[in-house]
Amino acid sequence: MSINWSDEVHRVLREQKVRQVAYVPDTGLKRVIELVRGDKKMRAVPLTTEEEGIALATGAWLGGERSALLLQSSGVGNCINMLGMAIECRIPLLMLVTMRGQWGEFNPWQMPMAQATATVLTAMGVIVQPVADADDVGETFAAAARMAFNTNRVVAVQVAQRVVGAKEFK
């Protein structure tokens, strides 16, 4: 059994000196959020809606700090117009998107945005890197972080619902 993928994500955030970590919660992000909130080297910034995180990352980078955004696939749609600013200004941003509506989903309302997630991110110029296996999350997230901060790009790691597990309604 490998180390928990959430711990790997936190380790990468630490190694990459990501200081401002913004999020809108998802069940799949619960442990990562707890690790970030417990880390004195990071500033956890809970958002009311995901696009705030794109603007926060822009301000953070202008001020000299690295930022990451943790969100559920449903929140990707909220980010689209604001991503235009990050792309136009070549702001580096690391996104961790946990998927719904992809693997054994129960809730039909989750399906449209989930199925469009990679398409709309790609359409805006975000580099999307899907992960289907828990063992690959750490390595993929580390590579995505290096690319985001070394080349000033927005890179989204899309963690499959198969990895995070489908929410149970019972």
Binding site: I54, A55, L62, G63, G64, G84
Partner: protein, 196 residues
């Protein structure tokens, strides 16, 4: 309170000049449209980050900057329409309590860039009241020159600060700053951090 029925009468360019006259080494973020032209008219600086899009971004860009640079004052100058698009950001900012962040809304109660349609502040929405309820440290709606004089030092005081300054819809000369986002980013970072 029938404060929302008072007619805005302040001149936005004079307000911007009065506030920015004492900026020192403060970092400035402007919301798209007239607030961007106002800051450019007062005087261009590499430490001005002008937004030309991403409506609703200004306050949160200010938060990211304020958290990254806790020793510098960060002033966000934006419009009522732009701020109305990001009311949730007031709660997000208040939750972080950045003492060095001040938001100045040039509230002319209209969408100035799209044909002067009325905004919600003309219909009674109280932006400073919302900021106060969200948990901002100091908040005020400013109608007069005397109130502005009292509040300018507070804009540089303990934050987070939020002021809505009631300004007229008079059209000023267009003063357009650079608009390439990457250029604006590079020159800001070079001036602040000494690197591109």
């Amino acid at each position: 309170m029938s404060a929302s029925r008072r007619k805005p009468k302040l001149d936005r360019r004079k307000v911007a000049a009065e506030i920015l006259a004492r900026r020192g080494d403060a970092l400035v973020v402007t919301g798209l449209g007239a607030p961007t032209w106002d800051a450019a008219a007062v005087g261009d600086s590499p430490l001005n980050f002008y937004t030309w899009g991403g409506m609703g971004c200004a306050a949160m860009v200010g938060l990211g900057m304020a958290l990254a640079q806790p020793k510098r004052r960060v002033i966000v100058i934006t419009g009522d329409g732009e701020m109305l698009m990001a009311l949730g950001a007031l709660a997000t900012i208040a939750a972080q309590q950045p003492q060095n962040l001040s938001i100045v809304v040039m509230d002319n109660e209209h969408y100035g860039e799209t044909g002067m349609q009325a905004t919600h502040t003309q219909m009674g929405a109280d932006l400073a009241g919302m900021a106060k309820a969200a948990g901002f440290h100091a908040t005020q709606t400013i109608y007069t020159t005397a109130e502005l004089k009292t509040w300018v030092p507070k804009i540089y005081g303990a934050g987070p600060v939020f002021v809505a300054v009631k300004v007229t819809t008079e059209r000023d000369a267009l003063v357009l700053p650079p608009r390439d986002g990457t250029l604006l980013k590079f020159r800001f970072r070079e001036a602040l951090l000494g690197e591109a």
